[in-house]
C-alpha cells in the first residue's frame, strides 16, 4: 500500500479524570504529505503521544477532525477503525516489548500482526520479506529473549510494517537504544518511507534523531509550536493567529509582557510596551 496523507483540523483533546479536565491538545492543525517522514518533538506532557494515539484511532478527539488518506477518522465506526488499524495505520508503542508477544519469535509476531488484515483478504507482504526489510531475517525464528534491544526494536518495526500500512506512527522508537541501534532503526524507517512511500510520524525526544528528520513538528502546550525543515526552525502561525515564540525570544519577552506588533514593509516586529518608541527588544519576521 502506498502512503497516506495525514491532516488534522482544529484538533482538541481533553482528558477527563477524577473531576479534572486536562487539555492535552488545543487546536492542532497538521498536514503530512503522503510518504513523508516527520518527527514530532516537544517536552514531556506537550501532547505528542496524545496526537499520535489520535492519529492511530485509539481515541476520538474532543473536537476537530482527522483525515488519514480518504478517511475522516472521527466519522468512522468502531469496525471501520479496526479495519483502518489492520491495514492502513500502524502504531508503534514506546518500548519494543510492548509491540511484541513475548512468547513468539519475530516471524510469528509478524504473522500475528497480519492476522486481522489477512481476514479481510488483503494483499499482504510475505513475512520473510518484511523481516528482510528490517534486516532481521537472520533472527526470524529466534526467541525474543535472545535478541538485543536493537533487534527487538527492529522486530517491533517489522510488526508495525507487517501489513504494509500507509501510515506508521512510531512513539519513541529509538529510546533506550545505543547509537548504532538507533541509527539502524532510523535508517530502516527512512527506507520504508522512501521505498514503500509509507508516511512515517515519529515521536522523539532525541535531538540527534530530530536532526536527521527531513521535517519536524514541535508540540508545546498542546499546540504546534514550531516546525523544522532541513535544519531550519520556524514558528508556526496557527489558525487562531497564535505563534509560539522560540525560547530565546521568550527569555527576552517573559510571559505577561505587552508587545505591539509592528508591520514594517512585510517585516513584523514585536515591540514591548516599556520600549514603545525605542529599540525593539525582539522581532518576529514573517511573510
Amino acid at each position: 500500500m502506498s502512503g497516506a496523507a495525514i491532516s488534522t483540523r482544529g484538533l482538541v483533546h481533553i482528558y477527563r479524570s477524577e473531576g479534572h479536565d486536562v487539555a492535552a491538545l488545543s487546536g492542532v492543525d497538521l498536514s503530512v504529505r503522503s510518504g513523508e517522514m516527520i518527527g514530532l518533538l516537544g517536552p514531556s506532557g506537550a501532547g505528542k503521544s496524545t496526537l499520535l494515539t489520535l492519529l492511530g484511532g485509539l481515541f476520538r478527539p474532543s473536537a476537530g477532525k482527522i483525515y488519514i488518506g480518504d478517511h475522516e477518522l472521527t466519522a468512522l465506526t468502531v469496525k471501520e477503525l479496526d479495519r483502518l488499524r489492520a491495514r492502513e495505520v500502524s502504531l508503534m508503542l514506546q518500548g519494543a516489548s510492548r509491540n511484541l508477544l513475548p512468547y513468539l519469535t519475530p516471524r510469528q509476531n509478524v504473522e500475528f500482526a497480519q492476522r486481522a488484515a489477512r481476514r479481510d483478504s488483503a494483499d499482504l507482504p510475505d513475512v520473510g520479506e518484511v523481516l528482510d526489510r528490517v534486516g532481521l531475517s537472520e533472527y526470524a525464528d529466534h526467541h525474543l529473549s535472545g535478541l538485543t534491544p536493537g533487534h527487538l526494536q527492529l522486530a517491533a518495526v517489522a510488526v508495525a510494517i507487517a501489513t504494509d500500512p500507509g501510515v506508521v506512527l512510531a512513539d519513541e522508537p529509538t529510546s533506550q537504544l545505543d547509537h548504532e541501534a538507533r541509527d539502524t532503526v532510523l535508517k530502516v524507517l527512512a527506507d520504508i518511507s522512501a521505498q514503500q512511500g509509507t508516511t512515517v510520524v515519529l515521536v522523539t525526544h532525541d535531538p540527534q534523531v530530530a536532526a536527521v528528520m527531513p521535517r519536524t513538528i514541535t508540540i508545546r502546550d498542546g499546540r504546534i509550536g514550531g516546525e523544522g525543515r532541513a535544519g531550519e526552525e520556524y514558528a508556526v502561525v496557527t489558525a487562531d493567529g497564535f505563534v509560539h515564540l522560540p525560547d530565546h525570544a521568550l527569555a527576552a519577552l517573559p510571559p505577561g509582557t505587552l508587545v505591539r506588533v509592528h508591520d514594517q514593509d512585510g517585516i513584523y516586529q514585536l515591540i514591548p510596551e516599556h520600549e514603545a518608541g525605542g529599540t525593539p527588544g525582539a522581532t518576529k519576521e514573517g511573510s
Binding site: R98, P102, A113, R115, Q176
Partner: protein, 1030 residues
C-alpha cells in the same frame, strides 16, 4: 497458542486443575451420592437380621375346631410374585413342642422340627439324616447332656397349652443321627442348638435342642398344635436401592391386608406374615434423602470455593493478557477477534480440566467405593451425573466468557494502560457488594432461625464469603494508613510491606478465598469430629457398656452366681435385668447393682461418680437372716372370731394357717406354713418346721391364710423364741413390720415386747392378710430418666417388679439417660428389687455388662454361666454399635468433610501460589527498584514475606472464626444419624481439638507457602530486571 501456553504453563496448569476440580466436585457428588446410597442399602441388608430382610409366614390353629394350619408351600404362595422374585425359594417347616414321657419333673422339653432341606445344613457326627417317619437327629449337646445316641428311642408327648400332657398326642422317636448345625440364614434366625441343658425357670424342665425329623413325622399323628412356617430369605445380591424401594409398596399392601382365611375341609386356618422389608425401605429412603442433601451441600460449597478461585485466576490471567489483547486490537483485531484470542488460549485449558475432572471424579468414586464405602457398591452413571457434568461444562465455559468479556470489549487505549484501573479506597464493586449482601443476609437468616434445614450447613461458607470480601476491601485502605504511619516513624521495612499490600490487588484477592477455604476446613473438621463423638457416645449409651451379653432365660440368681464366680469384686462384669413395660405408656425398669453399674456402664456426657447412687440403697433396717433347715418357735394364738355373717350358707370358719414368707438364697420367695390358728379356744405350742434355708434365707413376712369362702373374722397370734437350727432369731420390734394387706381385705398389725412378735389379724376378704418386714422396701427408690409414667403422684409412681407386677416406686433422683435402656427408664437397685423374692417374669431380659470388650473375659463368663445352667444367646459391643452408625448415609456424607477440608486447605495454598505466579514479575521489579534505592536483600525478603504472611494469617484466623460461628448455627441442621437417638446424647458443642487442628493445619500450609513464595519473589529482585524485559 501453544507458545502462549508454554510461556505461562504454571498459570495454564492452575486453570486446568481448578477447572478439573470444579468438574470433579460436580460429577463426583452424584456418583458418590449414589454409591453411598447403594452402600447404605447393602449394609442395611447385610446387617439386617434375616427375619427382617426376609419374610416369615406362620400358620397355626388359633381355634379348637381341629383345623390344620396351612402348609408351608401354601403359605409361600401367598407372597406377591413381584416380591418373590427377590426371595430365595421358601424354606418350609413344621414345629411341635414336645416333652419326653413320662412328663414329670425329669422330663426334657423342646421342639420337634421338620424343615425342608435341613440335612444340608447339618453335619452328622454320628448316624445319618433322618428320612423315615419318627426318625430324628439330635444335637451333640443332647447326646452329651442326656446320653441319647444313635439307636435310642425316645417316647414323647405333644405339649399343648391347656391340655394335660397325658392327654396329648404321643409317639416314640428313634434317634438315627447326631448333628452339629451350620450357622446361617437358612435357620432364619432360629437356633437349632443352645437350649440343651438349660432349665426353664418356670417349668423347671430341662430343655433339649431341636430334634430334626422328616415331614412324614408331622403327618403321622393327629398333632394338635403344629406350627407351620414358610421362611423366605431375601436375595440381597439382587436388591439394590431402587429395588428395595420398589418392594415397599407391594410389601406394605401385603402386610397390611389380612391374609385370606382359607378353608381346608375340616375347619379354617389363618396365617400371618412378618417382615421388616418396609422398615428397611423406609430407612433406605430416609438415608437417601439425607445423602441427597448432605453430599451436594458439601460438594457444592467446595465447588463454589473452587469456582471462586478459578474466577479470580481467570480474571488475573486475562488481566495479564491485556497488553496482548491491546496489541491484537492495535493490529486491527475486533472485539470479537480479541475475545476469540482469549478463548483460544483459555478454553482448551477448561476443556482439559473438564475431561480430567470427569476422569478424576470417576477415579475418586471408585476409590471411595473401595475404601470408605462398602465394597461391591455398583458403579452407576445415572442422569444426575450427566446433568451435573453438563452444568460444569456450561458453568465453566460461561465463566471464561464472562471473565473475557470486559477485556475483549475494552477500548484499545484502555487496554494499553500499564496498570489495570481499579477502585480506590473503600469502594466496592456492585458484584462484590451483591455477594456480601446476599451471603450476609442468608447467614443472618440462618442465625435468627428464619431459614432452617440441612441447607444451613452452608452457613460457614456464607459467613466467610461476606467477611472475606469485606476484609479484602477494607484491607487496602487500612494497610495504606498503617503503612504510611510506619513510614513516618521510620519503619521502612514494615511500612513498605503494608503499602505493597495496599497497592497490589493480587494479594488482597486471596483474602476471600483463604477465608472461605479455612472456614470450610474448620467447619468440615468440626462436623467430622462432632459426628465421630456423637456416634461413639450414642453407641456407648445405647449399648450400655463396652460389651453387653444377653443371657438365655430369666434366672437372675444363677446369672449372678456365675458372675460372682468370675468376678467377685464386680469390677469387670455386672448383671442387669431389664423389664420392659407392656404397651407404650409404662417405663422400662432396669435393675442393676449400683456400685458395679456405675463402674462398668458407659455414661458418655455424664460423670457416673456424681450420680446419686446411694439413694438406691436398701432400707436401713437389716433383714432377718435365717441359716439352717429347721425353724422352731413358740406360737400362741387366740381363736378365730367371726365378725360377720356367712357369705353363703354353710361357709363357716375354718382354721387359719400362719405362714412365714422366706426369700431363699436364689432370691426366690418361699412360703412355709408355721401352724394353725384355731377356730375354737386359744392355743400355745412349740413349732418346728423345715425351711429350705440351708444356703440362707431372709424372713420377709408373715401371712395368715384362711382359705376358701368364710365369714370375716379376727384373731391374734404371738410368735416368740424363734431359732433356726439352734441359733436364736430376733424377729425385731413391732415397728419393723408393716401390714401389706389391701384395704378391704382386712389388716394385720403387730405389737411386741421382750423378743416376741404379736399380731392382730382382721380378715374381711378371701385373700391372705400379711405383714412385711421393714427390710423389704415399701417403696422402691429409683433414679428416673424421662417423664414419670401416667398416674404418678409427685415423685411416687409404679414400675414393674421382677415378676412383671407393678411395685410402688419413689423417684429419688433424675438421670439424663440410662445406658443400655429406653429413654424412659426407672433405674433401681437389683438387690432391693430382689428383697421381696419375686420370680422373674418370662419377659425379663437378663444381661451382663462388661467393663471391656474382651473375648477371654466373655469366654470365662460363658463357661461360668454354663456351669450354672445358663448360656449367652447374643452379644453386642459398643464398637459394633458404633460400626453400624459408621456405615450410615449420614456418616459417609460427613466423611466428605475430610476431602472437602483437605481440598480447601490445598486450595488456599494454590490460590496463594497463583497470586504469586501472576504477580512475581512486577513484584520482583518493584523489589529490584527498592534494592537500587539501597534496601538490603534481607529487608526485601521481609517486605516480600510481610506483603503476604500477615494477610494469610488474618485470613486464616478469620476463616477459623467464621467456621466456628458457622458451625454453631449449622450443626443443628446436620443429620448425624439415619434415625435420631432416643437417648439424649447428642452433643453439638464445638470440637475445639478439631478446630485447633484445622486452624493450625491451615496456618502451616498457607503460612509456609506464603513464607517460601515471598522469599522466592524477593530472591528474583535482580537489578537487571529494571531494564526493559520481556
Amino acid at each position: 497458542m501453544r507458545q502462549a501456553l508454554r510461556y505461562r504453563w504454571m498459570q495454564g496448569v492452575s486453570i486446568a486443575v481448578l477447572a478439573a476440580l470444579v468438574t470433579t466436585c460436580a460429577v463426583f457428588a452424584p456418583l458418590y451420592d449414589r454409591a453411598l446410597q447403594q452402600s447404605m442399602v447393602r449394609t442395611q441388608l447385610a446387617h439386617a437380621p434375616v427375619d427382617v430382610s426376609g419374610i416369615r409366614l406362620v400358620s397355626l390353629t388359633p381355634d379348637v375346631t381341629g383345623a390344620q394350619p396351612l402348609n408351608g408351600q401354601d403359605l409361600a404362595a401367598l407372597v406377591p410374585p413381584s416380591v418373590q422374585r427377590f426371595m430365595q425359594p421358601a424354606v418350609t417347616s413344621s414345629t411341635l413342642e414336645v416333652g419326653t414321657r413320662p412328663f414329670n419333673v425329669a422330663a426334657k422339653s423342646g421342639s420337634l422340627v421338620s424343615r425342608s432341606g435341613a440335612c444340608r445344613h447339618l453335619t452328622f457326627v454320628h448316624g445319618r439324616c433322618p428320612t423315615a417317619q419318627f426318625d430324628i437327629a439330635i444335637s451333640t449337646a443332647d447326646q452329651h447332656n442326656y446320653g441319647w445316641h444313635v439307636g435310642s428311642s425316645i417316647p414323647i408327648t405333644e405339649l399343648v397349652t391347656n391340655v394335660l400332657p397325658s392327654k396329648s398326642a404321643h409317639a416314640t422317636l428313634h434317634v438315627v443321627g447326631v448333628y452339629s448345625a451350620h450357622p446361617g440364614n437358612y435357620w432364619f434366625k432360629a437356633t437349632p442348638t443352645g437350649q440343651s441343658g438349660l432349665t426353664d425357670p418356670v417349668t423347671s424342665h430341662a430343655g433339649h435342642d431341636w430334634w430334626i425329623t422328616p415331614a412324614s413325622t408331622m403327618l403321622a399323628a393327629p398333632w394338635a398344635a403344629p406350627v407351620n412356617e414358610a421362611d423366605l430369605v431375601m436375595r440381597t445380591d439382587r436388591v439394590d436401592l431402587d429395588r428395595l424401594l420398589a418392594l415397599r409398596a407391594p410389601m406394605q399392601k401385603f402386610l397390611a391386608s389380612p391374609v385370606p382365611v382359607i378353608g381346608n375341609g375340616t375347619g379354617q386356618s389363618s396365617a400371618y406374615a412378618s417382615s421388616g422389608i418396609v422398615d428397611l425401605a423406609n430407612a433406605a429412603a430416609h438415608g437417601r434423602d439425607q445423602a441427597n442433601i448432605l453430599v451436594p451441600l458439601f460438594m457444592v460449597q467446595l465447588a463454589l470455593l473452587i469456582a471462586l478461585t478459578l474466577w479470580l485466576v481467570l480474571r488475573a490471567a486475562i488481566d495479564q493478557r491485556r497488553p496482548e489483547v491491546a496489541l491484537a486490537r492495535l493490529r486491527g483485531r475486533s472485539s470479537a477477534g480479541a475475545r476469540g484470542m482469549l478463548l483460544a488460549e483459555l478454553l482448551p485449558l477448561i476443556v482439559v480440566g473438564l475431561v480430567g475432572g470427569v476422569a478424576a471424579a470417576f477415579a475418586l468414586s471408585c476409590a471411595a467405593r473401595h475404601t470408605w464405602l462398602v465394597a461391591g457398591a455398583p458403579f452407576e452413571v445415572r442422569p444426575p451425573v450427566l446433568y451435573t457434568a453438563l452444568a460444569a461444562v456450561v458453568g465453566l465455559i460461561g465463566m471464561v466468557l464472562v471473565a473475557a468479556q470486559a477485556t475483549a470489549t475494552a477500548a484499545p487505549a484502555e487496554l494499553l494502560r500499564r496498570v489495570v484501573p481499579r477502585r480506590r479506597g473503600w469502594a466496592m464493586s456492585v458484584g462484590d457488594l451483591l455477594v456480601v449482601v446476599v451471603s450476609g443476609a442468608a447467614f443472618i437468616a440462618f442465625a435468627t432461625g428464619s431459614l432452617s434445614g440441612p441447607v444451613g450447613t452452608a452457613a460457614p461458607t456464607l459467613l466467610a464469603l461476606a467477611v472475606g470480601l469485606l476484609l479484602a476491601h477494607a484491607l487496602g485502605p487500612v494497610t495504606a494508613l498503617v503503612g504510611r504511619a510506619m513510614m513516618r516513624r521510620g519503619r521502612a521495612t514494615g511500612g513498605l510491606a503494608m503499602l505493597q499490600i495496599a497497592r497490589r490487588p493480587g494479594v488482597r484477592k486471596i483474602i476471600a478465598t483463604v477465608t472461605v477455604a479455612t472456614a470450610l476446613l474448620t467447619f468440615s473438621y468440626d462436623a467430622l469430629a462432632v459426628g465421630i463423638g456423637n456416634r461413639t457416645a450414642r453407641a456407648q449409651a445405647e449399648t450400655g457398656a463396652a460389651l453387653v451379653a444377653t443371657v438365655g432365660g430369666t434366672d437372675v440368681a444363677a446369672t449372678r452366681a456365675a458372675l460372682h464366680d468370675v468376678d467377685p469384686s464386680g469390677r469387670e462384669v455386672t448383671p442387669v435385668v431389664q423389664l420392659t413395660a407392656p404397651g407404650e405408656q409404662g417405663t422400662t425398669t432396669l435393675a442393676v447393682v449400683p456400685s458395679q453399674f456405675a463402674r462398668i456402664a458407659d455414661f458418655p456426657g455424664l460423670d457416673p461418680a456424681q450420680l446419686p447412687w446411694t439413694r438406691l440403697a436398701a432400707p436401713k433396717t437389716p433383714p432377718i437372716r435365717l441359716h439352717g433347715t429347721q425353724l422352731t418357735l413358740q406360737l400362741a394364738s387366740a381363736k378365730l372370731q367371726a365378725t360377720g355373717p356367712e357369705p353363703i350358707p354353710g361357709a363357716g370358719l375354718t382354721p387359719g394357717q400362719l405362714q412365714a414368707v422366706l426369700v431363699n438364697s436364689e432370691s426366690l420367695r418361699t412360703v412355709v406354713t408355721l401352724g394353725e390358728l384355731p377356730i375354737a379356744g386359744s392355743s400355745r405350742h412349740s413349732l418346728s418346721v423345715s425351711i429350705p434355708c440351708a444356703k440362707g434365707c431372709l424372713l420377709t413376712g408373715f401371712q395368715e391364710y384362711a382359705g376358701g369362702i368364710h365369714p370375716p373374722f379376727t384373731t391374734s397370734a404371738t410368735l416368740a423364741d424363734a431359732s433356726v437350727s439352734g441359733h436364736p432369731v430376733d424377729l425385731g420390734s413391732a415397728g419393723a413390720w408393716r401390714s401389706i394387706t389391701a384395704a378391704g381385705d382386712g389388716s394385720m398389725t403387730t405389737q411386741g415386747a421382750n423378743g416376741s412378735l404379736g399380731m392382730d389379724l382382721s380378715q374381711s376378704g378371701t385373700s391372705a392378710v400379711a405383714i412385711e418386714h421393714a427390710s423389704v422396701p415399701a417403696r422402691i427408690p429409683a433414679l428416673v430418666s424421662g417423664p414419670l409414667p401416667a398416674g404418678s403422684q409427685g415423685n411416687q409412681f409404679q414400675a414393674q417388679g421382677l415378676d412383671g407386677i407393678l411395685r410402688d416406686v419413689t423417684k429419688v433422683g433424675t438421670l439424663a439417660y440410662v445406658p443400655g435402656s429406653d429413654p424412659d427408664t426407672t433405674l433401681v437397685n437389683l438387690d432391693v428389687l430382689q428383697r421381696d423374692g419375686a420370680a422373674p417374669t418370662s419377659t425379663a431380659l437378663v444381661q451382663i455388662f462388661f467393663a471391656r470388650n474382651d473375648p477371654a473375659l466373655l469366654a470365662k463368663v460363658s463357661t461360668a454361666l454354663k456351669a450354672h445352667g445358663q448360656g449367652i444367646i447374643s452379644t453386642i459391643s459398643a464398637a459394633q454399635a458404633r460400626g453400624v452408625f459408621d456405615r450410615s448415609a449420614a456418616t459417609w456424607a460427613l466423611q466428605l468433610g475430610v476431602v472437602v477440608g483437605a481440598t480447601a486447605a490445598l486450595l488456599a495454598a494454590l490460590v496463594l501460589l497463583i497470586a504469586v505466579a501472576t504477580s512475581w514479575r512486577l513484584r520482583s521489579r518493584d523489589y529490584a527498584a527498592l534494592r537500587m534505592a539501597g534496601l538490603r536483600r534481607r529487608q526485601l525478603a521481609l517486605i516480600s514475606v510481610g506483603e503476604q504472611l500477615p494477610v494469610v494469617i488474618i485470613s486464616v484466623l478469620l476463616g477459623v472464626a467464621c467456621g466456628v460461628i458457622g458451625a454453631h448455627f449449622a450443626m443443628p441442621h446436620v443429620p448425624l444419624f439415619a434415625t435420631p437417638p432416643a437417648i439424649p446424647v447428642i452433643n453439638l458443642s464445638i470440637s475445639w481439638p478439631a478446630v485447633g487442628l484445622a486452624g493450625i493445619g491451615a496456618l502451616i500450609v498457607v503460612g509456609v507457602v506464603a513464607w517460601l513464595s515471598g522469599r522466592w519473589v524477593a530472591g528474583r529482585a535482580h537489578l537487571d530486571s529494571l531494564r526493559e524485559t520481556l
